[in-house]
Symmetry: C2
Subunit: 468 residues, 2 copies
């Protein structure tokens, strides 16, 4: 039996009623509607247009990753990723999902692996705090700069700062030992820098967008270095691949997931909440936010019509957000589809301690398994939402391990591809990011952007008449 | 000059156009519309119905907090909060905002203060990892259990587990030293337990809901213990108080904030994105999510009409989410109001290192201040959003310190109160949380919930016909 599956009963009209649920005939219509979308996705793959689909089977990437991981094994106390977006979110999510909560603090739980830090921002206070600490530990620290082009302003700034620090403290030659570049195989700024300076390099595959790259060297190196079973991740993705190609929605979880999400978007529920009931999966909700928002948030459809489409992904966490968001989720507008992530076997267990004698009202918790409590809270929250006719999906993990995490990743990637076909948009581009980048160049006074600067400055300058 | 202010030019029709902007006459209408809401909020305060308003002036709470902090000063390496919702989110947010990023890892940056851990979940894997580490460090660890009633299932379970661990490892008497209870002054389960066992206690004030409690002992103890200037927090709140009572929206930032948010909710923008451009403020976006969602997400209005109202708060982070969410924010549906948090003085600075000789295209970053880069990215992102007619507010911090954080907290609390009046709902209750709690009791087989269990189990049981 497979480890990850999608449970969709609680979006059915049988459970949440006709007004907010999917009736049998609507399921049947969706199953027809999604067939050509699946076919289009399969065809695109055959044409080599979505190379992320073949990452589970690529042997070169894991081999090269393991080679680098093995080269540096036992040499470093700290492994630092410099990247942003798809060059950070997958690394963070895999680490949180598969390594212990106290990994960075407890050397025993790390089992001689390095600590992992991922910097995906250009906050001077955050970075200063880190540099203050790492400055005396550079000998035992290695940096993995991840950027296809090397020109992303955030990653380039971090890289330039770290590189200078290494040169100042350990000398020019140290960079070769202490920097690994994951970048384009042949061209671009970072490839040029890496080849020039003789860094170790790994490849960001062509045609694999950042948000689809976690199973490439982009996401695999930090995982391998931190002791995560990357073969298991790839195996899981391959297992899921077998289940997401067929044209029957009722046996294709990606098709069902995409169809249900698309259906609700068009039915007054533009908000898609992902709510893991497992602390370890919370960062996968952020990974999903990028995958979903960048892929499906588009102004024009493939025919050039203005559609301004795209569900808004929202990250939540059970049980934490029961005491924060569930009031709104139950009583506010019925404008959301909920997707819970549920884990049967957490790998560890806690038996809740006894109630103090003076508090028999807590006796019902006495000696209970904590996994039973968290899963009861999930069922209870879902019950309360269903009571108020809010549709709910659940992705079920029978166990949280590398294989199931690989399955989950691939499930959501293919779900996104199929959803993109249903929305009739280009799933793989991100045209809106460009203007902000250029505006940053202008505001940083980069040569060639003087005209844009003239346009921007009057708009971004504070007008004190509007300050309160 | 005050340290925190609200900039609203970029919601004006002048900037984003008539279709999505607020015209001068609409601003004037809003200013009239918000006056009775401000008056109602002020009256409620005078009647003693919103005691959170007086927390900046209460002397007993900070005195008792400082007494406890001083009692334990230098005695412990680890301070662990057990709480959830309002008993956790404020503690986390204040710590992230005002202590260094590496606080828990770098003892030098902690300056002999204890590490801070906040547990607001019942995840067995997360807690097992922590207990595995802390088990050998109990002598140097102190726990602050925060619960008004003591019956919240999550906090009670954590407490019962930790209490038993202390008894097993250090003996029954150790609990007195190693547990501080922040709870009701007189009654409830935790008060009973604490008095019975002789724990140190602090008070959760009456009438102050969890989400409005960060400036009470609930939020102040962990802050004081970790070296944060709690007098500064309260001073800032008091400074903001002076600015949020007047009935002129154009000089009352809470009124302006509430009115603009309410206006857009009613104008097809039900999603409210808070996007700090400061890593340190990211957890305040979670604090805000609770404040906003639990206060404003309501099915019935004060007259008993079904309204199903409530904006959906979304957490984002600049610059990180430029590479994740901005594609959707610019190109997707124009259904969001954006609120940026911007910091002028981060307290620390980084000068970006030089570009490698072979990469002159990065020269524009060479030697630039990182604070200039992050703030340029904010301006650039806002420019790109305005280009696509997306309305944007900015909360401006001239400096990130205890005073400005106190101002921000109080600004948003009063904003929420005024918004509640505009939405005509009960801002201070959370009726929808109850059913989920009862359903948890039923699923945990608590006595007295057998009938509910019979209703729930058939609904929450997995029906394999719907598993794909």
């Amino acid at each position: 039996m497979s480890k990850v599956s999608l449970y969709y009963k609680n979006v059915s009209a049988e459970v949440v009623g006709q007004e907010h649920g999917i009736s049998q005939s609507q399921f049947a219509e969706l199953a027809e509607r999604v067939k050509p979308a699946i076919a289009a996705v399969n065809k695109r793959r055959e044409q080599g247009k979505t190379p992320y689909r073949d990452l589970p089977y690529n042997k070169d990437y894991p081999t090269s990753v393991k080679q680098v991981a093995s080269d540096i094994e036992g040499e470093y106390e700290n492994f630092v990723v410099l990247g942003i977006g798809g060059s950070a979110l997958g690394n963070i999510a895999v680490q949180s999902a598969l390594n212990p909560y106290m990994y960075n603090i407890d050397s025993a739980q790390r089992e001689k692996r390095p600590r992992l830090f991922v910097f995906d921002n250009v906050d001077p206070a955050q970075l200063a705090s880190f540099l203050d600490w790492v400055g005396d530990r550079l000998e035992e620290t290695i940096f993995n700069v991840i950027s296809k082009s090397g020109r992303t302003a955030e990653t380039a700034s971090q890289f330039m700062t770290i590189r200078q620090l290494l040169i100042d403290k350990l000398g020019e030659d140290a960079c070769k030992e202490h920097i690994i570049a994951t970048t384009d195989a042949k061209e671009g700024t970072m490839r040029k820098i890496a080849d020039d300076a003789g860094y170790r390099t790994l490849v960001v595959p062509d045609g694999v967008g950042g948000r689809f790259s976690v199973l490439s060297p982009v996401g695999l190196l930090s995982a391998a270095v931190c002791g995560i079973d990357i073969d298991g991740l790839l195996e899981g993705a391959g297992l899921m691949d077998k289940r997401v190609c067929g044209d029957d929605m009722f046996s294709n979880p990606a098709a069902m997931n995409a169809a249900v999400n698309w259906h609700y978007y068009n039915r007054g529920k533009p908000i898609s909440v992902m709510m893991p009931y497992a602390y370890a999966l919370k960062d996968f909700a952020d990974w999903y936010r990028q995958l979903w928002a960048e892929s499906l948030g588009k102004t024009v459809d493939v025919d050039g019509n203005e559609v301004f489409v795209g569900p808004t992904p929202v990250k939540a966490l059970g049980t934490t957000d029961q005491h924060s968001q569930v009031q709104l989720y139950r009583e506010g507008p019925n404008d959301k589809l909920f997707t819970f992530l549920q884990v049967e076997d957490f790998g560890s267990e806690i038996n809740i301690g006894p109630a103090p004698d003076c508090a028999p009202e807590l006796g019902y918790l006495d000696g209970a398994k904590m996994s039973k409590l968290i899963n009861s809270e999930k069922a209870a929250t879902e019950y309360a939402l269903l009571h108020d006719k809010r549709p709910c999906l659940t992705v079920m993990f029978d166990k949280l391990d590398a294989v199931s995490v690989g399955e989950f990743i691939y499930l959501y990637e293919v779900t996104t591809s199929i959803a993109g076909e249903l929305f009739k948009i280009n799933t793989y581009n991100q045209p809106a990011v460009e203007l902000g980048k250029e505006a940053t160049f202008a505001l940083m006074e980069r040569e060639g952007y003087e005209e844009l600067a003239k346009k921007i400055v009057p708009i971004t300058k504070i007008d004190t008449d509007f300050l309160v």
